[in-house]
C-alpha cells in the first residue's frame, strides 16, 4: 500500500468523521450507548451483587447492545451516498473503490471505538472497588472492539446494497442476529437435541459468540482475532462486489 493510498483513505475517514460530528447524531448515539451500557451493567448485570472484581457483567451485554447500535451508526455509510448521488462524485475521483470502502469503515469504527473508550468510568469503578486483572480488561475491550468491527462490516455491506437506510438497518440486524444465535449457548443446546454434531459445530463456527467469550475470559488468541478479521475482510470484499455490480447494471 503506497503512502498515497493511505492518504486517500485518511481523507475519506476524516470526511466521514467530520460528517458525524457536524450532526447531532454522533452525540445522541454516544449518550444512548453510555446510558444503555450503564443500565445493562448495573441493573440487569447485577454488577454490585456479584461482588467480583471483573467486567463480565459489562462485556456480556455487548453482543446485544451492538446488535442495534452498530447498524444504527453505520447504516448511512453507503446508502446515503447512493440516495443523494454523491456516490457518482466519490467514484469518479482518482481513488480505488477499496480506498473508499476502507476509509468509510475506519471512520465508523473509530467512532465506535471512541464511544467504547468513554466507558472508562466502569473500569475505574472496578479498580476502586477491587483488584481486577487489567490484562483481562484489555482483552475484553479488544474483543468488544473486534465484535463491533464485525457487525460494522456487515452493516457496511448491507448499506451498499440499498439506497434506503431503514432497509439497510433491518438487513444488518438480521444478519448480526444470526451471527449471535448460531453459537449462543441456549440455541446450540436446543440444536444438539436433534441435529448431528457436525451440523451444530458448523453452524456455531459462524457465530461471534464463542470467539467473543474467549476475550471475556481474558484470552487473547490469534485464532479469535483471525475470525473477526476474516468476517470484516469478507464483508468488505462483498461490499466492493456490490458496488461494482451497481455500476455495471
Amino acid at each position: 500500500m503506497t503512502s498515497e493510498s493511505l492518504r486517500n483513505i485518511w481523507t475519506i475517514t476524516k470526511r466521514e468523521l467530520v460528517g458525524y460530528f457536524n450532526s447531532p447524531v454522533a452525540y445522541v448515539f454516544i449518550v444512548i450507548f453510555l446510558l444503555m451500557n450503564g443500565f445493562f451493567t448495573f441493573m440487569l448485570g447485577n454488577y454490585f451483587q456479584r461482588g467480583e472484581a471483573n467486567l463480565n457483567s459489562f462485556f456480556m451485554w455487548h453482543p446485544w447492545l451492538y446488535l442495534f447500535l452498530v447498524p444504527a451508526a453505520g447504516m448511512r455509510l453507503w446508502s446515503e451516498e447512493r440516495r443523494v448521488g454523491t456516490l457518482e462524485l466519490l467514484l469518479t475521483m482518482p481513488i480505488s473503490a477499496w480506498q473508499a470502502i476502507i476509509g468509510k469503515f475506519l471512520a465508523c469504527w473509530l467512532f465506535l471505538a471512541l464511544a467504547l473508550a468513554l466507558t472508562f468510568p466502569v473500569v475505574l469503578t472496578t479498580m476502586y472497588l477491587g483488584d481486577p486483572d487489567l490484562g483481562s480488561i484489555v482483552a475484553g475491550y479488544v474483543g468488544s472492539l473486534l465484535l463491533a468491527g464485525a457487525y460494522l462490516a456487515v452493516t457496511v455491506m448491507t448499506s451498499a446494497m440499498t439506497r434506503n437506510q431503514v432497509i439497510s438497518f433491518i438487513l444488518s440486524v438480521v444478519i448480526c442476529f444470526f451471527l449471535i444465535l448460531a453459537g449462543w449457548e441456549p440455541v446450540t443446546e436446543l440444536m444438539v437435541r436433534w441435529a448431528p454434531d457436525w451440523l451444530v459445530t458448523t453452524v456455531a463456527s459462524f457465530s461471534v459468540m464463542p470467539h467473543f467469550a474467549q476475550f471475556q475470559r481474558g484470552v487473547l488468541d490469534f485464532r479469535d482475532i483471525l475470525f473477526f478479521g476474516s468476517v470484516i475482510g469478507f464483508c468488505l470484499f462483498c461490499t466492493s462486489v456490490v458496488l461494482r455490480g451497481l455500476r455495471g447494471a
Partner: protein, 319 residues
C-alpha cells in the same frame, strides 16, 4: 484528449447508448445536445468511469478509462447531472475535501479552494452548510469541485441548469476561458448556449449521434438557411418574382402578398450562407426602384434543426 470509440451501454434489454464515437481535442468545447433520455448523461458517466461501457472504449489523455481508471480520472473534472454535494459539510469543508482527494494538501489546497471560490462566486456562502444552500449555489459548489484541480478535461452535465441569467452568463464566460487550453464536453438543453460557447456540437437521439458539426454547420442544415427574405411595398407580386428569378445567384423564389406588401423569399442556387445573395438582391431592388423595408439572410435556427433531426415522442410512437 478525449476519444470515444463505438460506445454502447445496455440497461437490461434497453440500449441507452448505441455506438457513439467522437473525439474532443484540447482547445475544443463540445456541446452535447439531445432530447430527454437520449443518453447524454449515460455517455458522460462512461467517459468519467462511473459506469463501465457494455462495449467500446473511452481514452482520456492516452489512458483507457477502464484499464487505467485512476490515471484517467486524475485528468478529469466532472460535474454530475444532479450536482450532488455532501450535505453534512460546509462549502469550505467540501471543497477542501475535493482538493485533498485530488492530491492537493496544505497551502496548495487552500490556494485551490480560494481560486475556485472566486471563479464560482461562493465567497458569501463559504462557511454555510451545504444543505442550507439554494439550488443555484449548490450547483456552483459542485461546479467548483470539478475545477479544483485545474483539470485538462472537463465533463459537465448541464452546468448552467438552475442558475440565474447573470450566473449563466458568468459560467459561459468561464467555460470559454477554460476552453482555450482544456478539452470540454458539456450537455445542455439551452440552444443559445451552443452558439455562445461551443466550438462544436453533437446531437444525440435515442442513443445515437445524429449530427456532429460546428454550430454554423448545424444551422446550415435548416431548410431556410441561406435564403433571403425581402419585403417590398407597392409592387406587383409577379413582377417581383420574375425579376428575382432572373438573378444569377438565386434558385427557387416564393412570393406572398400581405396587406399591400410583397414578401419574397429567395433561396440560393448553392446552399451557402454568405452575403452574396443578399447583396445582389439589394442591387436589383435599387435598380428596380422598389421600396423595401426588410431585407435579411436567414441563418437557420438551431432549435428548428434540433426538432427536425430528433423526432419528438409523438411521431416516434406513430412510426
Amino acid at each position: 484528449m478525449i476519444t470515444v470509440e463505438d460506445l454502447v451501454k445496455d440497461f437490461g434489454p434497453k440500449r441507452a447508448v448505441n455506438r457513439v464515437s467522437f473525439t474532443v481535442q484540447r482547445g475544443e468545447i463540445l456541446g452535447f445536445l439531445g432530447p430527454n433520455g437520449a443518453g447524454k448523461s449515460t455517455t458522460m458517466r462512461m467517459i468519467t468511469g462511473f459506469i463501465p461501457p457494455t462495449h467500446g472504449k473511452v481514452v482520456v489523455g492516452g489512458h483507457d478509462v477502464n484499464e487505467a481508471p485512476i490515471e484517467a480520472k486524475r485528468l478529469i473534472g466532472y460535474l454530475p447531472e444532479s450536482a450532488p454535494c455532501y450535505s453534512d459539510m460546509t462549502v469550505h469543508g467540501f471543497l477542501s475535501f475535493a482538493a485533498e482527494m485530488r492530491g492537493l494538501h496544505g497551502s496548495a489546497r487552500e490556494e485551490a479552494v480560494r481560486r475556485v471560490v472566486g471563479m464560482c462566486f461562493l465567497e458569501n456562502v463559504l462557511h454555510q452548510s451545504v444543505d442550507t444552500l439554494s439550488k443555484g449555489y449548490r450547483h456552483r459548489t459542485c461546479l467548483a469541485q470539478s475545477i479544483i484541480h485545474d483539470p485538462q478535461v472537463l465533463v459537465l452535465d448541464e452546468p448552467t441548469d438552475g442558475l440565474d441569467p447573470n450566473q449563466k452568463h458568468e459560467i459561459r464566460q468561464l467555460l470559454k476561458r477554460f476552453g482555450r487550453d482544456k478539452a470540454i464536453i458539456f450537455s445542455t438543453h439551452i440552444l443559445e448556449e451552443v452558439d455562445a460557447v461551443c466550438s462544436r456540437a453533437i446531437i444525440i437521439d435515442r442513443g445515437q449521434v445524429v449530427a456532429n458539426g460546428t454550430p454554423a454547420e448545424l444551422r446550415a442544415r435548416h431548410e431556410l438557411a441561406g435564403s433571403v427574405t425581402l419585403r417590398v411595398q407597392a409592387a406587383a407580386a409577379e413582377t417581383v418574382r420574375g425579376r428575382l428569378s432572373s438573378l444569377g445567384t438565386a434558385g427557387k423564389v416564393t412570393v406572398s402578398t400581405d396587406s399591400g406588401t410583397v414578401l419574397a423569399r429567395i433561396f440560393p442556387r448553392d446552399k451557402t450562407v454568405n452575403g452574396d445573395l443578399a447583396r445582389s438582391v439589394a442591387e436589383l431592388a435599387g435598380k428596380e426602384g422598389w421600396r423595401f423595408d426588410e431585407l435579411r439572410t436567414e441563418e437557420g435556427r438551431l432549435d428548428d434543426v434540433f426538432r427536425a433531426i430528433t423526432q419528438p415522442d409523438t411521431r416516434r410512437q406513430g412510426a
